[in-house]
Each structure stands twice: as structure tokens, then as C-alpha cells.
């Protein structure tokens, strides 16, 4: 559902002109501008539409065992608080993902000394021993019911910036320049980062692919 475009700020910095037509066609941008104009229901629409993407992004960046709901909630609350100063400079997802990525980064830094993909704890609080995530019996794990776990484990093996770039490109469909805006790097650096990420993932996942094909 496309909301009305409110009388919000539509200018891009330094351009002296309005935003690109493609920006205004973005559903999220329309809702955000309507929210800026006073339509609180538009904010509800934003949360309904993008909550899944925010959760998925946080889960893939932070791993399967870290709580992410508080970060997802904070991401949308920051969208709420930015109502007055929001400017339609690109897709709404780029705006939301930048907020979400910064929150994830803060969580990573807070847990710098702990493994990001920490093992779950038993009932008495003892952390279970980590298995060798790459070579542990791929032929036993490579069926479709386990692929989600396998993929998340492989993503967890990547350096943080490669993981984020890969998640944003593959799962969220962002362009190189949008990923670069979020990570604070050039499109060329983003391209290089993605190349290394895909090379590493192929190395990590190929044993499981071969086991499945056997």
C-alpha cells in the first residue's frame, strides 16, 4: 500500500533539487514521509513491512545465539525519533539497514572478547564445546533440514565486514554503493570485499555441497 507523500523534506544534500523519482517511488520512503507529516499509521506500516528484514539481518550478522529483539526494537525506535530530521536520500531500506548495522556493530564491540558465534550453554550454564564447523562430517549434515544451520555457521566464519557485505547483497539485494554507504567504504572496496567473502564461503561450503551430491 502506497501512502501519501507528506510535506516533508525532499531535498538531497548539495543538489539543490528534489530527490530522484526512484527514491520517491520507494514504498518505505513514502511511508516515512507520511509519518514525518504526522501520519503515525505510516510508521506502523513501516514496522510491519520491514521487521522481518531487520530481524534477519541482525540474526545473520550476530549469529544464532545472540538476542536480537532488543536491537531490532531499538532500530525502529531510532526511525521513530528521526521523524523530524529524515531526508529522502535513497531507499528506506538503506536508511534502516544503516541504523541496524550500527547497532549490530555496537553489540559486536561489546562482545569483543567473546566469540561472536558462541556455543549455547547447558542447563547448568556451562558452554558446550565447539565443534569443528567446517570438517565435522559434512555428509551427515548436508540435508536440507540442516542447511540453514550450515549456512549460518559458514557466515559466522567470515570476518565481520565480509559477513555484513554478503548479507546485505545476497539477502537484502542492496547495490554496491548502498552497501558502501552503510559500511562507510567505496563501491570499489565493497566489490573487493564481496569477492573475498564469496571465495571464503565457497571454501567453507563446498565440502557440504559435494557431500550432498555424492
Amino acid at each position: 500500500m502506497a501512502g501519501p507523500i507528506g510535506a516533508g523534506r525532499l531535498t538531497e544534500p548539495g543538489a539543490g533539487r528534489g530527490p530522484r523519482a526512484s527514491t520517491l517511488e520507494d514504498e518505505g520512503v513514502q511511508w516515512m514521509l507520511a509519518f514525518q507529516a504526522g501520519d503515525d499509521d505510516a510508521f506502523t506500516s513501516l514496522v510491519e513491512r520491514y521487521q522481518g528484514a531487520a530481524f534477519a539481518m541482525l540474526r545473520r550478522i550476530l549469529g544464532p545465539h545472540m538476542a536480537v529483539e532488543d536491537l531490532a526494537q531499538e532500530a525502529f525506535l531510532r526511525v521513530w525519533r528521526s521523524r523530524e530530521r529524515y531526508q529522502a536520500q535513497g531507499k528506506f531500506t538503506t536508511f534502516l539497514y544503516r541504523i541496524t548495522y550500527n547497532l549490530a556493530l555496537n553489540r559486536i564491540r561489546d562482545h569483543k572478547r567473546k566469540p561472536l558465534y558462541s556455543m549455547p550453554r547447558s542447563a547448568d550454564g556451562v558452554e558446550m564445546e565447539a565443534e569443528d564447523s567446517v570438517s565435522a562430517a559434512p555428509e551427515e549434515e548436508a540435508d536440507h533440514s540442516n542447511w540453514g544451520v550450515i549456512v549460518q555457521r559458514a557466515l559466522g566464519e567470515l570476518p565481520e565486514n565480509q559477513r555484513v557485505a554478503m548479507v546485505l547483497q545476497h539477502y537484502d539485494g542492496l547495490e554496491l554503493y548502498e552497501i558502501g554507504e552503510i559500511l562507510g567504504i567505496s563501491p570499489q572496496a565493497t566489490k573487493s570485499l564481496l569477492h573475498r567473502a564469496r571465495t571464503n564461503l565457497r571454501t567453507l561450503l563446498s565440502p557440504y555441497r559435494e557431500a550432498e551430491n555424492d
Partner: protein, 135 residues
């Protein structure tokens, strides 16, 4: 043509959103909209404001302590009398004089009083002797 990697990455199913997440976000956003002073138990002063006021109070105390410990004197012109020339005195000198006077009071004892009276007596005797001189 899709890379086999993309096909495998797609096998990771999306994270399910916990039930009630939207309602919790909306509720928290609406709580933030209420002015803090109208909230039950809410603070009238935000933490950053409190820190700023505390820092300012500490600075004032530090300056006051420094002055009390003999920091730079306060200089202010004091105009005395109605004469053609205005006498400008340091407040500092006035305070010092006052301290001396108070010190006399503090140190006043019988010996000092005796010396004072002797001085008065001597003066009186001198005046008397002058008055007895034949004119």
C-alpha cells in the same frame, strides 16, 4: 546463471519475528512521546542536564576554594569621603586592616591593656603638664 553458492545461501530460512514485536515497538515509541515530567516517577531533569549542572557546581566550588586559599585578590575601587580626590583603596587592604584590628582584639590581654592605659596615662600627664605651664 545462478552461482551454486547463491542457491545454497538461499537455503537459510528467514528469521521469524517474535509475536507481538510490532505492538511492543509502538508502545515504547508512544511512551517516549510523553513528556518526561508527566511520567510517573519520571525525572524532571535529564541525566545530561544533571551532569552539566554538577560540573558547573564543581567548577564554582573549585574557584571559591582557590580564592579562599589565597588566589588572586579581588580588586575593586572603593571611594572614600567627599573630598576633591577620590581615595582608591584595595579591598584587600581593607580586609588586611580589619584582620589586624581583629588580631588586636584577639590578642588583647592585661599586658596589652596595661600598655594602652600607660600610654593614655602618659599622654594625659603630658597634657596636664602643658596646662600647668605659666602662660
Amino acid at each position: 546463471m545462478t552461482d551454486w553458492l547463491d542457491e545454497i545461501l538461499d537455503r537459510d530460512t528467514p528469521e521469524s519475528v517474535p509475536e507481538g514485536f510490532l505492538e511492543r515497538v509502538i508502545a515504547q515509541a508512544q511512551v517516549e512521546e510523553v513528556p518526561a515530567q508527566h511520567q510517573a516517577g519520571g525525572r524532571l531533569i535529564s541525566f545530561p542536564q544533571l551532569m552539566s549542572m554538577t560540573a558547573a557546581a564543581v567548577m564554582l566550588l573549585a574557584v571559591g576554594f582557590w580564592l579562599g586559599q589565597g588566589g588572586d585578590t579581588l580588586h575593586a575601587p572603593a571611594v572614600l569621603g567627599n573630598g576633591p580626590e577620590n581615595a582608591m583603596l584595595d579591598l584587600d587592604e581593607l580586609y588586611q586592616n580589619r584582620e589586624v584590628l581583629e588580631a588586636y582584639e584577639v590578642l588583647a590581654d592585661d599586658d596589652l591593656n596595661s600598655a594602652f592605659y600607660d600610654a593614655e596615662t602618659g599622654t594625659w600627664a603630658l597634657d596636664y603638664s602643658i596646662e600647668d605651664q605659666p602662660r
